[in-house]
């Protein structure tokens, strides 16, 4: 238990340092751009493919039940609300925790093991600002954008699946999909992924940057980055959903 508290304390201090350094020059715009390409653009195919497949499968599963209750026309609505509120944000985040989180943990741990971080420090460059802050910022910025792509890829998959079953037109699918969707169903859940991005970035960089176990540390950092990030994301999701319900009570109905 003491180790857990100690870990939470260390990661929290690490996260506060990221926030503090973020607002002090130099601002590392070039590094942020590089990391944004790595965390965002290179994750896009995975997110699009997963969203599309998930949307398709979800329609397969819900269709028979919905038809049984004579609610076939509601399939696009259910699909859209499910994706915007929870499936899109959470699945996109967990995918990024796996792909980007493990990558960040492994890369930084390898840089530590091969003295590259010492090399940066020896050149009078602040390695924390140069390596850690841009990666966290990139995760924070990339997650909401990837979530939007995930949402719409899911809808596209759902449409194609529904079209194959009922020949519904694209126009009608979209009209029905957005009939019950309010901005409060879309914006807060999408923006909460920025918090998830902060968790992925901070936890992954923490494990990679602070390891001191050589090659063994690389594997441990990669694994711990994914496991701890995913766990914290699910816990944070519960808290953030309650916060969203508090601010937008109509979403809780």
């Amino acid at each position: 238990m003491i180790k857990v508290i100690e870990f939470v304390g260390k990661v929290s201090l690490f996260g506060f340092r990221v926030i503090f350094d973020l607002f002090h020059p130099p601002f590392e715009a070039g590094q942020i751009g590089r990391q944004l390409a790595e965390a965002g653009a290179r994750s896009l195919p995975l997110v699009l493919a997963s969203g599309f497949a998930l949307g398709t499968v979800m329609t397969f599963h819900t269709r028979s039940t919905m038809m049984m209750f004579g609610a076939g026309a509601m399939i696009p609505t259910v699909q859209a609300i499910a994706f915007f509120i929870e499936i899109g944000p959470l699945v996109a985040t967990l995918l990024i925790a796996g792909r980007v989180g493990s990558g960040i943990g492994a890369v930084l741990a390898n840089m530590r093991a091969t003295e590259q971080i010492d090399g940066i420090e020896s050149l009078s460059i602040d390695s924390f600002k140069f390596l850690v802050v841009p990666r966290v910022v990139a995760c924070v910025l990339a997650l909401p954008l990837l979530t939007i792509f995930m949402d719409f890829a899911g809808l596209l998959g759902g449409f194609l699946s529904e079209y194959a079953a009922s020949r519904i037109s694209f126009h009608l699918f979209i009209v029905r999909a957005f009939a019950e969707v309010a901005w409060s169903n879309f914006i807060p859940p999408t923006l909460k992924t920025a918090v998830f991005g902060f968790i992925i970035g901070t936890v992954s960089t923490f494990f990679g940057y602070t390891t001191n176990k050589g090659a063994q540390g690389v594997g441990e950092a990669a694994t711990n980055s994914v496991v701890v990030s995913s766990l914290l994301i699910i816990l944070a999701d519960v808290v953030l959903i309650k916060c969203i319900f508090f601010v937008f009570p109509e979403n809780a109905l």
Binding site: M111, T114, D118, E121, S122, S124, D126
Partner: protein
């Protein structure tokens, strides 16, 4: 320890432990500006730790360290950064940034720490790469370089800011004798042409004798001999005599 002299580096009663293991015990020595010190010793006797203490990648548990007349053990990060700019560090495995090309590895400190224009940076990088014989390899990634080329590239990066003090951690380890000799030549050239203070950790006695003016021998965390090659050969410590011997 007299720090009023023109010593480039002074170690004053420095101790360092990692957990229960004491790596350095009350180590004191100084290196005059423009001299080359070679640190010899068996593996795990604190030689590399000495270099990392010098550049403040590690902090001593006890004692004081002066670099270019400035006590560095209690400096804050911003002041430390200024002191580090006077030093170049060649790491044992070169520690090149593997996501950057050779050119970018050398240009990075110039872009970050100087006001030089893009053209000036190009010229400096080309010149330094020319010195180490890697002019034609600047677009290569570190993974495309051989062991000797990586060492030379690491040396080029250490020299790119024209340091007053050059630290080299086993510059010839893992290299054939000819390539090791080339690295030694570069260190000698740097000392002779730029009056750079050179501190080398090495197991290569032949190379050490070519490069070094003074020799420090470590054994189990203690500095057991210090002086010229002749003085260390006459040392009462058997390990020191064995390590400095070329036979």
């Amino acid at each position: 320890m007299n720090v009023e002299t023109k010593a480039a580096v002074v170690f004053d009663c420095v101790s360092k432990s990692f957990g229960p293991k004491q790596v350095l015990r009350n180590v004191s020595f100084e290196v005059a500006a423009g001299q080359a010190l070679c640190i010899l010793g068996r593996s795990g006797t604190g030689k590399s730790v000495t270099l990392k203490l010098l550049i403040s990648l590690l902090k001593p548990d006890q004692g004081k360290i002066w670099v270019d007349q400035q006590e560095v053990t209690r400096l804050k990060e911003a002041e430390l950064s200024k002191v580090r700019r006077k030093m170049g560090f060649l790491f044992q495995d070169a520690a090149l940034f593997d996501s950057l090309t050779l050119y970018e590895n050398l240009a990075l400190p110039l872009q970050r720490l100087t006001d030089k224009t893009h053209e000036d940076i190009d010229e400096i990088v080309d010149r330094v790469l020319g010195q180490v014989g890697l002019s034609n390899d600047k677009r290569k990634m570190p993974s495309e370089l051989s062991g000797g080329m990586r060492k030379r590239a690491g040396l080029a990066r250490a020299l790119v800011l024209e340091p007053k003090i050059l630290l080299a951690d086993e510059p010839s380890s893992g290299l054939d004798r000819i390539t090791a000799g080339e690295i030694d030549e570069l260190l000698i050239q740097q000392k002779a042409e730029h009056q750079t203070t050179v501190i080398v950790v090495t197991h290569d006695v032949h190379g050490a004798r070519r490069v070094g003016d003074r020799f420090a021998v470590f054994d189990k965390g203690d500095l057991v001999a210090y002086g010229s090659a002749a003085e260390v050969e006459q040392s009462e410590n058997e390990t020191a005599r064995k390590l400095i011997s070329e036979n």
